[in-house]
Symmetry: C2
Subunit: 645 residues, 2 copies
Amino acid sequence: MFTIKFLPYNIDIEVEEGTTIIRAAMEAGVHVNASCGGEGVCGKCRILLEDGVVEDGISSMLDAADIEKGYRLACLAKVKSNLVVRIPIESSVDAGVLNLPATPRRKAKIKQMDFEDLKEKGLFLPPVEKRYLELPEPNAQDHLPDVTRLVSFLKINYGEERLQLTLPVIRKLPDILRKDNFRVTATLERPVREGRKTRIINVQAGDTSSHNYAIAMDIGTTTIYGQILDLLTGEVLSEYGDFNGQISYGEDVISRIVFAEKEGGLDIMHEAVVKTMNRVIEKIVKKAKIDPEEISTITLAGNTTMTQLMLQVNPRYIRRSPYVPAATIYPPIRATDIGINLGDHVVALVYPQISSYVGGDIVAGVMGSGMYRTEELTLYIDIGTNAEIVVGNKDWFACAACSAGPAFEGGGIKLGMRATEGAIEDFSIDPVTLEPMNITVGNVRPKGICGSGLIIMVATMFEMGIINNLGKFNRDLDTPRIREHDNIWEYVLAWKQESQIDRDVVLTEIDIENLIRAKGAIYSGYQTLLEEVGLSVYDLDRIILAGGFGSYIDLEKAIVIGLLPEIDTDKVTFVGNGSLMGAKMSSLTNRIRQDVAQVTQMMTNFELSETPSYMDHYIASLFLPHTDMEHFPKLKARMEARQRR
Amino acid sequence: MFTIKFLPYNIDIEVEEGTTIIRAAMEAGVHVNASCGGEGVCGKCRILLEDGVVEDGISSMLDAADIEKGYRLACLAKVKSNLVVRIPIESSVDAGVLNLPATPRRKAKIKQMDFEDLKEKGLFLPPVEKRYLELPEPNAQDHLPDVTRLVSFLKINYGEERLQLTLPVIRKLPDILRKDNFRVTATLERPVREGRKTRIINVQAGDTSSHNYAIAMDIGTTTIYGQILDLLTGEVLSEYGDFNGQISYGEDVISRIVFAEKEGGLDIMHEAVVKTMNRVIEKIVKKAKIDPEEISTITLAGNTTMTQLMLQVNPRYIRRSPYVPAATIYPPIRATDIGINLGDHVVALVYPQISSYVGGDIVAGVMGSGMYRTEELTLYIDIGTNAEIVVGNKDWFACAACSAGPAFEGGGIKLGMRATEGAIEDFSIDPVTLEPMNITVGNVRPKGICGSGLIIMVATMFEMGIINNLGKFNRDLDTPRIREHDNIWEYVLAWKQESQIDRDVVLTEIDIENLIRAKGAIYSGYQTLLEEVGLSVYDLDRIILAGGFGSYIDLEKAIVIGLLPEIDTDKVTFVGNGSLMGAKMSSLTNRIRQDVAQVTQMMTNFELSETPSYMDHYIASLFLPHTDMEHFPKLKARMEARQRR
């Protein structure tokens, strides 16, 4: 880590070696004009290196004299030592700006349950255990049947009661026992509820007790993630994610259901998702370098539609009023029965659903985040096209789903895109010149805007008065970047020649409108849910963000646009892929498996579409940040201060 | 029924219309010379019809004058009214014979448990029940998931607790519910032990509660029998038996095991037996005219080898010392998992095994015969190549198996055959002329001898002193029928021209030796078993014979050869196919399913090969009836009386 001092702002920041200066500046909240996103094309991001060593930073946009003086392009120069960097006068504009540095990025801290913690708390009840046994060999006086020999030995030597073998194990047993002189390792699957049967799900010759693995899997609408877990240490041995093969039949759950309703469609959707699951399994097994035979259990978490498609249960009624899912709790299912390529002794545990639109992925998040074990009143939000909201603590839970639309994933945004190479993911604007500072994924010329970038742009411009609380551009500003094009007002983020596409990269008022609708749906969703249970955002002790998108959100900016409530950002944590984490925790301990059923039962689902106040809240939310600024007192004060200046 | 009076013996017997006179005579214990078995070829069985009407009975062997007098051939004449029949002087020989009519045939009475009896005793706990339900339809206020709707309704309206659905049912449920406006019939599989889960194994649209069926099946080494049972009435709707497709790979269990040990052999044996099972199922479903979808459960009983082959469990160690089977109790198994063509909701219950040679067929017999519910000390014998013996009552059981060899099935007998057309199944002999009276299956010319016929021949000739207690023919008797041929002594049952084969039908001393070995193995088997538990045959309250062969055995003759102990024959009952009956009872009531586990646990298996006294008993049994005549006091007295005369 090296320290960089930005002058004239006198702001220090620590960054890793190799970071570009422009990213360091953005992180420090220092604006540097930069249109082209880091390829040295626009030449606007000149900085003066006053002390220290950088790598690169030189381009044809700089003449020899400038280079001699220490000028570099911030988008190309990489940190190699502690630095002192001055943003030149021509880049900033007037001293007033010194008092208005862009806010530094405040992302949610990652907080996940961990295995050691589990062990310490006595919550580690492995669902599958292996026992190495040296059985007495049969003889003329002792010719117990093979199964009886195994079961009696476990009973006498380990106090194991109520043992049951599966047919595949009985089939293997006679030969396995005699392979290594009656020395075998038995794999015992523990009952989730004490007192039920322990099933012997595998037997292996010799001592294999040190190899015992589980798979945790998140079946997402877009992506399927899998992990191999070591059941002895809790360690994640490998992880891999791949696009859900159903994507070619539709982007969202509704289009998947529509397809599944066609003749043979359900089978196709089922096969597509299972094929991806099997590909993921193959990859993680290979990466972890384990014998797939040693995998003893798999836990699957997905939303209601994904779960039904995976289990080949017709999802037709999920999308039809009154929106009835097939089931909440599914019985343990033999993995091979749904086409998963694992040993036929492997039982799949499927996370239960709450309703048609609050599914097992959310329940898994609630379990994995540990929010169900604390007194703290927690709001759990999984941001996506379908956003799910859970509020509660160890004593109660309420949940709801709302349709945010695809804006956060770049859908409905003119140049919207996923957070892949060329997406503008961070942004600031010079309050005087209105010149942009674009940071793109991969430090290449911009192609479009991803969700997290969109939030930052809209929030930044709103706070600077460039767009108003209706999401409209100030028509009076003197810049060629704000213009009317085809009857739609827009801001030019990068000119055609600075972009990777054959036209200007723009942010339009329609894009802003769609973002407002998306954030409005979520804000009014949790607003309504809290109101229904007699609480308000001020009662919240914690907000947990889940989903791939959550990790990229700038918390302050999310508050400015009115997506998150105005809450101490330290109370906001990010849980990552909550669904995968929950699946992992359930794979590691029966304690979580036991608790899941209870949590599922105590969770009350609210159908927002049938809650009259939801529409009122929604309409009131279709502003930046909200029609009622009293919901955002600090922002209100800040904006009033700015207007006074 | 008509009454026939046989003169000069003055013996009356009731027979059905259409019975041949020769069979009626045999049943009455009246000897009529008859070599050819009923085709009118030998012409020896002339009788004089003194009163009444017969059909047929005339052949070219009778001249017109004889016919006019009322002579008929007994093997051709069929009873059409009450008759008075005189056996002519030339057929019987001297008056002394009048005092020695052949003993009338005493077969064991059939005694089986029946359904009404079960109901009366409160033992009828159907393992599967159907419930017709009219569920409330979902609406905006009530959008319970489909599974929850079903489960809650059953809970609230019928007090059903701990319900679990299987995946196939969850898959069907959404569409089935909506097929007939939420009117459905649920099939509930009751737990064998109270307090465990009730599984909903099927759902059907509308009211199908009057159709609920089970299959019971006996998986025999030779034959596979199946029945369709109506679970509402206990009625057997259809039954069918077919040869086990494994027969082409070997006649007995050992040859099946040998084949299964070959590369791929186990799979072939598994497929062969399952193919037959499926053929039987197809037949009984067709005969019962039911929808196979309405079959809810199947119970399977077979010996240890058949069970392992059916379940595809390597039987290799069954035939190798120390003779270890894979398992005693098998878990419930999904029928489709072993290749049975039934709905995937059908769970197969497999009867437990006791040891490598006392299998589920015997346990089923013990259950089905009800002997496990009585105070009476009962000996259960299943006679076959492998004979199984169980002794005990409601408090305890001991069992053993012994290898009797195939003599009872015609194996090792020069002209031995199964009891199919042309087999001599009954026999008497004229004590003076030593002329035979052969009765064949199908009333055709003899081809050979079946097991029941063999016992009668040997017993009859032994009692008459034609063969001695070593099984050797009396060399001094003046008849061409007893002769030495290729160094082996034999009795000619039918001359070549009276037979269906191109040579004389004979009974040889080697045949007798094999029969003695077979009966000796069984007698010494239960002798040893009883001794091991401190009892003797005189303590027995009841003997139950099982197996196809048991129904044909003449009880008195079986005592004479020393197969059965000298016991009041009224105490001997015949249970038929005990295995099928047990499977049937388990299909009808969970009470039997519960009891099976207990019975299995309380049954002590004795390995006769490791019981030193067994060999002594066996050697002492290699006589007619036994080396120690004190075991057969009545027979001893009878024979002494005969010698004195």
